[in-house]
């Protein structure tokens, strides 16, 4: 296989180094490495990160290929600097059997823009009543380790307890979409001053927090590990912080949009801001940033939720929930966390590569940028300033809240096991 020399990139934002990739592996990291027959990527001023890993992506295939497919979703991932994504189970049919998870896994392998690790449903049909065949999904070719009914909450305490207990047998983790269903009936946005004014059904913070509180206690009780999807409130942060201080094995994620956007934007009634969990207040945003910085929140996950234009070009109540995020995630994190001084690039690597890979047990991903490691790499130009134009997205859907907004940073190269999936900003 060919060789690539990435010359002069700041590895994890630190010292400028040359990184020689030989085949699927990093051969050497140092200074003044001779190019020889390698293809040279001049990377002065750029940041070299381990390939990003997204623990929370919706690829929509099978079933909603009009929104996204494994191919278009992984192309979007490569554009955003990701080398591995975990695909959520709320497809049609639901990924609640070995057959469906293997299908998704195989599609990922065939397309090759990034590794696709399917997430298995916790319950049959995401209905919350009966455990899906968690063991069979783990034993399949897809080797599922993360289970989630995301989109829906496993609200039955007994089912949640059983799931947490059961996955211990093979080191799995249950990723909970924390949303108490009765407290969010008819809910359409964050409950508070803005929802009261707009007359939109309120989604109280306590609907998220009460489930997280319950689940960390359940995880403690059965001695299992639980992962909390997309934290959105200051109260959720406080509960996770408390749980960690108590020694409970809990991890948590935050989306880029919850680090930046607030419910004030809903005043536009533009469904591009309709998302689950909803955009919260400025106070929540600040608490989430602080928690990501101090490690209370372990990782950034995109919750990339593609929808076709017609599902968003309508009145608020009729619109689908969710926004795309793979292609803008790193820019939003730079804007909210790095440019604000809250996180170093090393911290970004930790929250967007090392830890998500560790939580999901993504083999070969989230590894140090050192000789002998798989060459899964992301190269970023942090000085770039540009306006987000969804027309250029690789995702099949364009439901981004950032259209026309200036965001910093641009992923220029992504390497998956030594092969460029993104080269000079263009998909390879």
């Amino acid at each position: 296989m060919s060789k690539i020399l990435i010359r002069g990139a700041k590895v994890l934002g630190g010292e400028a180094r040359d990184v020689l990739v030989d085949g699927e592996t990093i051969a050497e990291v140092g200074t003044g490495i001779a190019a020889g027959d390698a293809t040279v990527v001049e990377a002065e001023g750029r940041i070299l990160l381990p390939g990003l890993v997204d623990l929370h992506t919706h690829l929509r295939e099978p079933g909603r290929e009009d929104s996204e497919t494994v191919l278009t979703g992984t192309r979007a991932a490569a554009s955003g600097g990701y080398t591995a994504v975990f695909a959520m189970a709320n497809t049609f049919p639901v990924a609640d059997t070995a057959g469906v998870v293997e299908q998704v896994w195989r599609l990922g392998r065939e397309h090759g823009y990034c590794d696709v690790q399917p997430i298995g449903a916790v319950t049959v049909g995401l209905e919350g009543r009966k455990l899906a065949e968690l063991g069979a999904m783990h034993d399949s070719a897809a080797a599922v380790t993360v289970f989630s009914d995301d989109g829906k909450c496993v609200d039955d305490a007994v089912i949640m307890r059983r799931a947490l207990e059961y996955v211990k047998a093979f080191g799995g983790v249950v990723a909970q979409h924390a949303q108490e269903p009765r407290l969010t009936e008819g809910a359409q946005m964050n409950e508070g001053v803005v929802s009261a004014e707009l007359g939109l059904g309120g989604w109280p913070a306590v609907a998220e927090e009460s489930i997280i509180a319950r689940d960390v206690l359940l995880a403690e009780h059965v001695g299992s590990r639980v992962h909390i999807c997309h934290l959105s409130t200051a109260g959720s942060v406080a509960i996770v912080r408390w749980a960690k201080s108590r020694g409970i094995d809990v991890t948590a994620e935050v989306t880029p949009h919850h680090l930046l956007l607030t419910d004030e934007l809903v005043r536009t009634y533009d469904p591009v801001y309709k998302v689950n969990p909803p955009l919260r207040t400025e106070r929540d945003v600040m608490a989430l940033r602080e928690a990501l910085a101090d490690g209370t929140i372990d990782i950034v996950a995109t919750d990339h939720a593609p929808h076709p234009h017609e599902d968003k070009d309508c009145e608020w109540a009729a619109a689908a929930m969710g926004m795309v995020g793979l292609e803008t995630a790193l820019s939003v994190v730079q804007h909210t966390m790095v440019d604000t001084g809250l996180l170093t690039w090393e911290g970004v690597a930790d929250r967007m590569s090392f830890k998500p890979a560790r939580i999901g047990r993504a083999e070969g991903h989230g590894r140090p940028v050192s000789a002998g490691e798989p060459a899964n790499l992301t190269l970023l130009d942090p000085a770039y300033r540009g306006t987000v134009d969804p027309a250029g997205f690789a995702s099949r859907s364009r439901n981004t809240p950032y259209e026309g907004r200036e965001l910093p940073g641009r992923v220029t190269h992504t390497f998956l096991r030594g092969r460029a999936t993104l080269m000079d900003g263009k998909l390879a």
Partner: protein, 326 residues
Amino acid sequence: MKRHLISAADLTRDDAVLILDTAEEMARVADRPIKKLPTLRGRTVVNLFFEDSTRTRISFEAAEKRLSADVINFAAKGSSVSKGESLKDTAQTLEAMGVDAVVIRHGASGAPYRLATSGWIDAAVINAGDGTHQHPTQALLDAFTMRRRLVGREAGLGQDLSGRRITIVGDILHSRVARSNVDLLHTLGAEVTLVAPPTLLPVGVGHWPCEVSYDLDSTLPKSDAVMMLRVQRERMNAAFFPTEREYSRRYGLDGDRMARMPEHAIVMHPGPMVRGMEITAEVADSDRCTAVEQVANGVHTRMAVLYLLLGGNEPAVTHARTEETK
């Protein structure tokens, strides 16, 4: 005036007073043998109703016809909407037919706002009630009624409602009428108090420009107007309050309670009234209750809104005044 009327909060004090004054002029038309003005001749207004509402639709239709507009009534039931057509497609179909204004009633909060701001259509948009958000013409007709009763028909011209104390009672949480009234009455200088059980008040109500009380009895003696809201029976099973009887005892307006109001104070209701629940027949049928008057005033107020949004401004008002003076 703005191009659309989406929310009572969009109106300045001067806008609102202009509408109320114009409505007084329009009311004079109702006293004539031929209750019609040529103002909107050649203009087409569509009443786009995605939700059942006989009262509001007829009121708008009467207002439009009195201004000589061509009126199209569009009910979503049995239409292409029930076959899955989106609001956008429906709006664009109507736009293609050369509609000048769309009066929209929709179950989804924000639907009129989307219609007005999304670029789907060019027509003026008038919100005739959206979800639990706003019902601005209801607030205007309520303010019109209050100004007439509390200030006087002639004396009220050019006046707002400064210093008047208005109490709104009942299901504030689900009420677009309450939201619109709080916004408009505040703009007009009135002091508003909302009275309801805590379960029927929105979480963010503390930020609204009004007072909040759980106790109706202590509020009544200092009220110039008490507006009773309908309690929707479907709320009964959702644990907002224990029983109809308990609600009625704590928040219903009966003769005894009405007697605690100042003599000049009026009782209002946007209708339809549930007699025996939030209001007794004795109160509903008393001279102090303005429910029927509010319906009549709705037509005048909607004529004023349509006229000001579509017809221009001063000349037609002057025309009406001049004719009256002659």
